[in-house]
């Protein structure tokens, strides 16, 4: 049986994938007022997962990441839409947003914006869509 020699690829993947995942979370959280955002964060996370698919094979990654990505699309959409809908109930125009400053231990003063919740919804949707589409094509073979 053909066995690929991908030692370098696997070793670097185990390193790079985590950097990618960490950086994508940073992008997601920074996105509401500096470069980044849910869309880019989602794409980066899915590229990390894709890298793991390529290095270790689909079965193994599915075992360590038992996530139903189709469900993730729906949850993400629900979160994103809900942030808009909440404004209907409190009587402000649809999609209005607000922000506040909180002081946390260690991190200090942080800005928390409702736009971030929307970004998280987008993040989950993009992640779900990308992985679903790639796995639909890849699983066929």
């Amino acid at each position: 049986m053909y066995k690929p020699n991908d030692l370098i690829f696997r070793t670097t993947t185990s390193l790079i994938a985590f950097i990618l995942l960490g950086f994508s979370i940073y992008l997601l959280l920074a996105g509401h007022n500096s470069p980044g955002g849910g869309f880019i964060g989602g794409l980066m996370t899915s590229s990390a997962i894709l890298l793991m698919y390529m290095a270790y094979g689909m079965d193994i990654v599915k075992k360590i990441l038992p996530i139903n990505f189709r469900l993730l699309i729906l949850i993400g959409l629900l979160i994103a839409v809900t942030t808009g809908i909440v404004s209907l109930f409190i009587g402000v125009p649809f999609l209005s947003q607000t922000f506040t400053y909180v002081t946390l231990p260690i991190f200090g003063k942080i800005e928390l914006a409702t736009a971030m919740i929307f970004d998280i919804g987008v993040f989950l949707t993009v992640l779900g869509v990308t992985i679903t589409i790639i796995s639909t094509i890849a699983e066929d073979q």
Partner: protein, 112 residues
């Protein structure tokens, strides 16, 4: 600068159209991707390529970048990302199901 980017957008559209007119499905998909890139670059050019402060209403800021084209492009990129991925799956399924990726052979007959 605007002229160069406009020409680049034009080249992208031209290659896109060329690829769109090919018979092979994958080339057609690539053609649509190139076309949408051309369109996005074009929006950016239309908002005037200039450097400057972010567009925040404050005293003393005269030169600021136009945020709207960037917002439009971002939206448009997300949409074309969605459509391209959908088109790829569709093209793959079509090629599999019909056992050809040649548009000439995907013509079809009446009354099926």
């Amino acid at each position: 600068m605007e002229i160069i980017i406009s020409i680049l957008a034009g080249i992208l559209v031209a290659t896109g159209v060329y690829n769109l007119l090919q018979k092979q499905l994958l080339r057609i998909v690539i053609g649509t991707v190139l076309l949408s890139h051309g369109a996005h670059l074009f929006i950016l050019t239309m908002g005037k390529l200039k450097r400057g402060q972010p567009p925040i209403l404050e005293e003393g800021i005269v030169q600021y970048t136009d945020p709207l084209p960037q917002a439009l492009i971002l939206t448009s990129i997300v949409i074309s990302f969605g459509i391209t991925s959908l088109l790829l799956v569709l093209a793959y399924r079509t090629a599999n199901e019909n056992e050809t990726d040649n548009m000439e052979q995907l013509r079809g007959k009446t009354n099926e």
